[in-house]
């Protein structure tokens, strides 16, 4: 199965991060976007690079800074004196994989320009609509928002990301291998493209066909309901979150060579899909979102 080949290829570079690799692929296959929140230097960029290399996708990295303007992301119309008309110069967003590095350093205006494009899969400049390429996959990275000089993404924007994951430090054996081996950036060039773009689009289509039985739908419903009635959150999960959960679990099942979703799939993707969509209310300061979402899963019978 090609998808598992991809995983093994990527894990040659990203050592000891199997779950995170799968989560990233899961986002790609279900046509969602990925937000990685972690400290610099844990391999966020490498993951994005490797991913685009393995899937043979066009890759652009865009470093977000506080002076980045929306037009720097989407592109700009410039008057062409030769033809006597405005000509659209596409911005970095017109790519297949966009690594939006440190997205929370940019001003909200720029952030929202990107996020709108992510959602709509198109960009409107000067009244003209330009469709983005297919597939379009955004991997945004974010420093923990406690750092100085960041504009934390508002909840409404966070919702646009299918998953938010943390890379975390590699375990010591993986780190040892990393230190004793080659520079990962150099390794990337040696990787093979396992899945061509055309195949990827097929897979994305196939993922939407993964069977979710009535029991699975009921299970998702129960989870969403529970998050709305459980005290501890400011708001419950939105319908979009429910749909995201379904999409992610379908993709997760596909990665595991199944054409049907199991409750285990939902449980596997649940925290990465939902944790960033939920916020603790003030009574629950002693607990974090992770614990509360775990409670939800553990209280629903399958």
């Amino acid at each position: 199965m090609p998808v598992s080949d991809c995983i093994s290829e990527i894990s040659k570079v990203i050592l000891g991060k199997n779950t995170e690799i799968k989560q990233a692929i899961c986002c790609l296959l279900s046509n969602g976007h990925l937000l990685i929140e972690d400290l610099p230097g844990v391999g966020k960029t490498t993951l994005a690079l490797t991913l685009s290399k393995v899937f043979g996708l066009e890759f652009i990295r865009l470093q977000f800074t506080s002076d980045l303007l929306p037009a720097d992301v989407t592109g700009i119309s410039i008057f062409d004196s030769k033809n006597n008309q405005f000509e659209f110069h596409p911005g970095p967003i017109f790519t297949q994989v966009l690594l939006a590095d440190e997205i929370n350093r940019a001003t909200p205006k720029t952030q929202s320009a990107l996020l709108e494009a992510m959602e709509e899969h198109k960009v409107s400049v000067d009244g003209k609509t330009h469709t983005l390429s297919k597939p379009f996959f955004v991997i945004a990275t974010q420093n923990p928002s406690t750092q100085i000089g960041t504009y934390p993404l508002p909840e409404s924007q966070l919702d646009r990301f299918l998953m938010k994951i943390e890379m975390g430090y590699p375990d010591s054996s993986a780190e040892k291998r990393l230190l004793s081996g080659q520079d990962p950036r150099l390794l990337i060039d040696q990787l093979n493209t396992s899945i061509p773009v055309s195949k990827l689009l097929e897979i994305q289509q196939a993922v939407t066909q993964v069977h979710t039985s009535e029991d699975i739908i009921n299970y998702i419903l129960q989870i969403v309901e529970k998050s709305r009635h459980e005290t501890g959150f400011i708001h419950g999960l939105s319908p979009r979150a429910g749909m995201a959960l379904k999409k992610a679990s379908q993709s997760w099942a596909f990665i595991h060579n199944r054409d049907y979703v199991l409750p285990e799939d939902i449980q596997a993707v649940f925290s990465s899909v939902c944790n960033h969509r939920l916020q603790c209310n003030h009574e629950q300061t002693d607990k974090n979102v992770k614990q509360l979402t775990n409670n939800i899963i553990q209280s629903i019978e399958v």
Binding site: H211, S213, D215, L262, P263, E264, Q298, E301, V302
Partner: protein, 653 residues
């Protein structure tokens, strides 16, 4: 026999199960069918088991047809046709075993099971005791077990599960049973009137009396009736229950008088006793009433001799209320025709006549003669015994009075009546029962056949018919206590009089009380009681027609409600057999200590189970993978479900 062995060999296979079932349901009939039928049934059963175990000795078509025809002819000859309950059930019971002999397919077995249900209901035509009811419930249970065994197919259900299903089925049908019992129209017609069979011939009083007849009854402790007194219970010596009066004596035998007497009017001085009698079927028309009755419930008329009769022989439990008193006054005179009958003698007993005339000359008033006679019995060496010497001479009264002087109540009553008639005092014999066992648990008096008694009544002008019991003169204990203490030769006494362990007595009383309730509430629920019940429920009177239409309405409403219930049930509740089976599977595992965390998905659970229970790896993965298939795959087949359910059933840890 080892129970495990039994369950292994008998309860698993439809063939053996059907054989066992048929033997169980037909067993009560063995009492009523002739012995050669019982023997043939057993022979057929043995034959069938040989066929089953060795697969040999199968009867060919000709032989089995010949045997069947032979059996039909023999039964026809035996019972002179096939009409009537006993002949019909006899034929059914025997034929069902012929069917068993040739049964091969599932369809045959189903037919036999349905016939078993029918045979179960026929048992109630013969006996309606509590024991029968309990046994029939057991039979229904076994029948359901058999039904499940036949229909289990490839998936073997454990005996325990089958039992649970059967008990459930029975309990579901109980409400319907109660409704049917309460509201099913009691039609008194030929449908129910099929009881007049030779099987039903009962022991008891007859409408004639000759020496030796009553003493035969002493050997039976069959219940005759129960009486429950409403206010107070009369003392033992007043418990004279009258049934018939006998007038005509031909020297050998006392018989009833066909001529109707004039109506005597009673003037009641004291209301006396009010009581309810629950009478066992007697196949006779007369009712039992305490001396002297003056009022009787329902449609029964009191005759002038203070007896009462029903229109038809009493063939089922009968209940009536009556009032009796012993403080009354009769104002009318004795009719001349009646006096003639009450004075006529066969003129055979010359010595007796002589003795009576002798007393008459010396007496000042009729009472003196009565007292002389009683004194004569008491003092002239008369002996009260169950086994008197046989009276053979044509003048039997003389033989008894002057020779043998040993007799039972019928001898004394007979002799006394003749003596009185010879002395010119009109007299008659009364047949009935004397005494009764008071059950301390419910204060209900039960009277059995052994209390049969005969006494006399004499007409005294101005006083009316006066009860005289000559037996009391010889054996006063018979009246004040019971028959056992009255008889001097205890050796010949039937066994049931000799048992007097306190504990046994207690159990007997308890059983008697329960039996009484059973009869009061269940068996005596007839047309009238149904009317009363409906009146109690609605405050209205119902005719049979109303009851029938009400019954049909109730049935329709019940059907509608149950179908609605099932309809909504199927919508609202998950009755998916797969879910249920999975629950069973989880229960089995959690009993063994490997319970699933509630949030644990099937695959995760499987992984954990396999690591915990490597020995059960195959079964566990088989079951869980099937479950996953059924619940989460797109197109799962129903075969998968069956295999899954079967696997769960067989799963054992």
């Amino acid at each position: 026999m080892n129970i495990k062995l039994l369950s292994h060999f008998v309860l698993r296979k439809p063939e053996t199960m059907v054989l066992l079932l048929l033997l169980l349901v037909t067993a009560p009939h063995f009492e009523y069918i002739p012995w050669w039928s019982t023997v043939s049934i057993i022979a057929l059963s043995i034959w069938k088991s040989i066929i089953f175990s060795t697969n040999r000795l199968k009867p060919n078509k000709i032989i089995s047809s010949l045997l069947t025809v032979l059996a039909v002819v023999v039964i026809y000859r035996h019972s002179h046709g096939f009409s009537g309950i006993s002949a019909g059930s006899h034929l059914l019971v025997v034929m069902v075993f012929f069917k068993l002999l040739e049964s091969k397919t599932k369809r045959d077995h189903m037919l036999l099971v349905l016939l078993s249900f029918f045979i179960i209901s026929t048992n109630f035509l013969f006996s309606q005791t509590i024991a029968t009811a309990v046994y029939m419930f057991l039979c229904v249970f076994i029948t359901l077990l058999t039904l499940l065994t036949i229909n289990q197919g490839q998936s073997e259900i454990s005996l325990k599960e089958k039992s649970i299903i059967s008990v459930k089925l029975i309990s579901y049908s109980l409400p319907l049973m109660i409704i049917l019992f309460l509201f099913f129209p009691r039609i008194s017609g030929p449908l129910w009137n099929t009881k007049t069979d030779e099987v039903q011939a009962k022991m008891g009083l007859t409408d004639s009396m000759q020496p030796g007849q009553i003493s035969q009854l002493i050997y039976s402790n069959d219940l005759v009736f129960r009486a429950s007194f409403i206010n107070k219970i009369p003392p033992q010596y007043q418990l004279y229950w009258r049934a018939i009066t006998l007038w005509n004596f031909n020297g050998k035998k006392w018989t009833v008088n066909k001529v109707n007497e004039q109506k005597t009017t009673l003037q009641i001085k004291d209301p006396g006793y009010e009581y309810v009698i629950t009478m066992e079927p007697s196949n006779k028309k007369w009712l039992f009433l305490l001396d002297i009755p003056y009022l009787i419930s329902n449609n029964y008329n009191l005759n002038s001799d203070f007896t009462a009769q029903t229109k038809d022989p009493v063939d089922s439990l009968l209940q009536y209320t009556a009032n009796s008193t012993n403080s009354f006054h009769i104002s009318s005179d004795l009719d001349l025709d009646i006096e003639d009958i009450a004075l006529s003698t066969p003129r055979l007993n010359k010595q007796a006549k002589q003795l009576a005339l002798n007393w008459k000359q010396q007496a000042k008033k009729p009472e003196d003669i009565v007292n002389r006679a009683l004194e004569y019995f008491a003092k002239q060496g008369f002996y009260y015994t169950l086994t008197p010497p046989k009276l053979t001479r044509i003048d039997r009264i003389d033989q008894f009075l002057f020779e043998t002087r040993q007799g039972f109540c019928e001898h004394y009553a007979s002799a006394f009546a003749i003596l009185m008639r010879d002395a010119g005092i009109p007299s008659r014999v009364v047949l009935g029962y004397l005494g009764g066992n008071i059950n301390p648990i419910n204060n209900i008096i039960s009277v059995d056949q052994s209390m049969a008694h005969a006494w006399n009544e004499v007409w005294i002008d101005g006083k009316g018919w006066i009860r005289v019991d000559p037996t009391a003169a010889i054996a006063p204990e018979r009246v004040t206590k019971d028959i056992a203490s009255a008889l001097k030769d205890q050796k010949n006494l039937p066994l049931h009089f000799r048992i007097d362990f306190a504990a046994l007595q207690k159990i007997k009383q308890l059983f008697d009380a329960v039996d009484n309730k059973w009869k009061q509430w269940i068996l005596s629920y007839d047309k009238n009681k149904q009317k009363e019940f409906l009146h109690f429920l609605t405050g209205k009177d119902f005719s049979l027609r109303d009851i029938s239409s009400l019954f049909i309405q109730i049935i329709l409403v019940t059907l509608a409600l149950t179908s609605l219930f099932y309809f909504f049930n199927s919508i609202n509740r998950k009755t998916d057999p797969v879910d249920q089976a999975y629950k069973v599977f989880l229960k089995k595992l959690s009993k063994a200590g490997f319970s699933k965390a509630i949030y644990e998905g099937p695959r995760d659970y499987k992984k954990r189970l396999i690591s915990l229970l490597p020995n059960h790896k195959q079964e566990v993965s088989f079951i869980i993978e099937h479950y996953v298939d059924l619940k989460f795959r797109k197109n799962s087949k129903s075969e998968t479900a069956n295999r899954f359910i079967k696997a769960v059933r067989n799963f054992d840890i």
